[in-house]
Amino acid sequence: MTRLLVALIAGVLALVEVSVAAGSASAVLPLALIACWGVLRGVDEVVLAAPTVALALGVTSEERVGWFLLALIPLLIALVLVERGRQRGRSAAVGAAVAGGGSLAYGIVLLLAAGQPRALPAAAPALLAVSSVTALLSALGVLLLWRWRAQTHTRGLFA
């Protein structure tokens, strides 16, 4: 249930961002949500969100859905590798790092998918700016949603 809810919210966020802020941001909101919820609840609660976001972005782009999903994999790998902290501040920092790195990897993979490796140096400032915003939003998300973090005695948000 939680997985579906997170996937739905992430998909809607992706569509809203593409509709409202296309050209100036790059999947900041869904990536921040996946990162912060993954840090709080574990990667298994965001596994459906990744393909949903990839589908929402892929059908509006000339790039294929598969590339968007592939671009989101580094973020999920980072979520698997990090340990969920017991302290609020530490978790926020972890969320920011995961979101920033994941967002950077997302942009790089999609630039490479478009056959533009030579464009990477020119696009680096924009990618870093987008990653910073994603990291900041993810850290804020962790702080705001801290009360819903995974704890040993609960199995799911709706359990």
Binding site: V16, E17, S61, E62, E63, L110, A122
Partner: protein, 268 residues
């Protein structure tokens, strides 16, 4: 246990991504993506329209000084163009330009379309518009933006939507010619912006020359305004001259575009 399950999820997603990529060249997969895109296009168009006033303020609030400078530069440019236009009116070039514009604008049939979304991929430059094959749109038609300047070409068509590949997309290549010297070239996009390929060294190219579409290749009607030459770098040892082009159409804030559906006497 948890780590094994997470690793399994990652493997599943990785296989799904690779599977989607392997299947994507197949016709049904591309059609499915395009149809899904066309299905959600109206929702996104509504979101876009509803949120545009607020998003404009939020997204451009930090650019006020840059916009002020841009405004001043544009005022200078308008004054310069007005002066140039007055000079051109007196000369033969003006006659040619007027004839080119008449043939491109006067005899053409247009279709108006709304921009639904800009391509979200950082490596692509494209638009989704709300007109498709049901309205007479076919792949290869020219798409015009502000000032009737060419901004791109229709790349894919669905019954009620179409995808426009903008001039600055890395896969875009348009046959063009310089208005004054008739020097032909291919307009392509690179990391530094638009440039002309295959302009032989020694060709007559000057900064400010107008770049128009060329009938060579039969892809687009001739004489559509594309941009102007921004910089020229001719090296004697090189086969081709490096020519940078400043486009006239800015697609980043577009709401409406015109699709050239037919041109009298030439194929669109």
């Amino acid at each position: 246990m948890v780590r094994t399950r997470n690793a399994a999820w990652l493997v599943v997603l990785l296989v799904a991504a690779l599977g989607a990529l392997v299947l994507s060249p197949l016709r049904f997969a591309g059609d499915l993506e395009a149809r899904l895109g066309a299905a959600i296009a109206p929702v996104m168009a509504s979101l876009h329209r509803a949120a545009r006033p607020a998003s404009d303020v939020l997204l451009h609030a930090g650019q006020l000084s840059a916009l002020t400078e841009e405004n001043a530069a544009l005022r200078d440019r308008v004054a310069q163009l007005e002066s140039e236009a007055a000079t051109l009116r007196e000369g033969r070039t003006a006659e040619e330009q007027a004839r080119a514009l008449r043939s491109a604008v006067g005899d053409a049939t247009y279709l108006e379309a709304s921009v639904t979304v800009l391509d979200p991929s950082p490596g692509r430059r494209g638009l989704l518009i709300d007109r498709g094959s049901a309205h007479g749109v076919v792949a290869g038609q020219a798409v015009l933006g502000p000032g009737a300047a060419l901004i791109g070409v229709v790349a894919e068509v669905q019954p009620t939507a179409a995808r426009v590949r903008l001039l600055d997309d890395p896969r875009s290549a348009i046959a063009v010619a310089l208005q004054q010297s008739k020097t032909p070239g291919v307009l392509a996009a690179g990391p530094e912006g638009l440039h002309l390929d295959f302009v032989p060294t020694g060709s007559a190219v000057a900064i400010g020359d107008l770049v128009l579409t060329s009938p060579i290749g039969g892809q687009l009607p001739a004489g559509l305004l594309v941009g102007r030459v921004q910089a020229v770098e001719a090296r004697p040892e090189a086969l081709f001259t490096a020519v940078r082009v400043e486009p006239y159409g800015d697609a980043s804030r577009l709401l409406r575009v015109l699709i050239v559906t037919s041109v009298q006497g030439s194929a669109p």
